[in-house]
Symmetry: C2
Subunit: 147 residues, 2 copies
């Protein structure tokens, strides 16, 4: 099923600009017709779907290359090759690290917010009434031990 760039873009839910960009990177080269138009087939559509799927997982374009090469080499799936599996594994490690970082940060920001809200409640008596029965009075510094 030969098609031109616009048709492939539609079928893959992307844009012609994106396809030209992939070609610039050598990721998805196109054959040309006599008039210079790019022409693609169903195989290219599969390659492109592979790329887009991986991108949705947050893979960079360079990281999709082993999968694309694997498919082009005739393998049944983009992840049928060891190089692709390595990318999966590296990405998993990266994701785990990233998630751990974000969770640590979330905890820190959360505690900063909690502290700052407490201090605001303590410093501004006119606003929300103290939740704690022994909340500090506004003008005198008084330490209230948590009961």
């Amino acid at each position: 099923m030969a098609m031109r760039i616009g048709e492939l873009a539609r079928q893959a839910g992307t844009t012609t600009r994106t396809l030209r960009h992939y070609e610039e990177l050598g990721l998805l080269p196109a054959r040309r017709t006599g008039n210079g138009y790019r022409t693609y087939d169903d195989g290219d559509l599969r390659l492109l779907q592979q790329i887009r799927t991986l991108q949705d997982f947050g893979f960079g374009l360079e990281e999709t290359r082993p999968f694309v090469d694997c498919l082009r080499a005739g393998h049944p799936a983009g992840d049928s090759c060891p190089a692709s599996l390595d990318v999966y594994r590296r990405k998993l490690a990266e994701l785990d690290e990233c998630i751990a970082d974000l969770q640590r940060i979330r905890a820190e920001v959360g505690s900063q917010l909690a502290r700052a809200e407490l201090e605001a409640a303590a410093d501004v008596p006119g606003g929300p009434p103290p939740l704690c029965a022994f909340a500090p009075p506004p003008e005198h510094e008084r330490e209230t031990g948590t009961p």
Copy 2:
């Protein structure tokens, strides 16, 4: 304790370029001496430390502005103002969303890897017909992993 840009950069563990950048943004304006040199004091160091701390948490520079303004307004801490608390809360929501996304992606990539490893193990000994390896998700919505 008046100091010039190099000294402030050293004390904050950053670079002069960064400080000039902050000034361009109006985030950390500097006084000038007669010869045109930037001059800073300990208050500026505190502002800068506030910025760097928030940056370590993944806040964008614009998001640090309320904190800096708050400190400059004379408040005891950068997060003593409602605007800063709002930034905290928005960032928490953003972090939660991002963490959830990454966890979902981690699970998907993990299962893809497991499946691909199984298929590789199955394909080497014998030759059972491969399933359709990739069922691309219907929507193409993308976002960056870490801020």
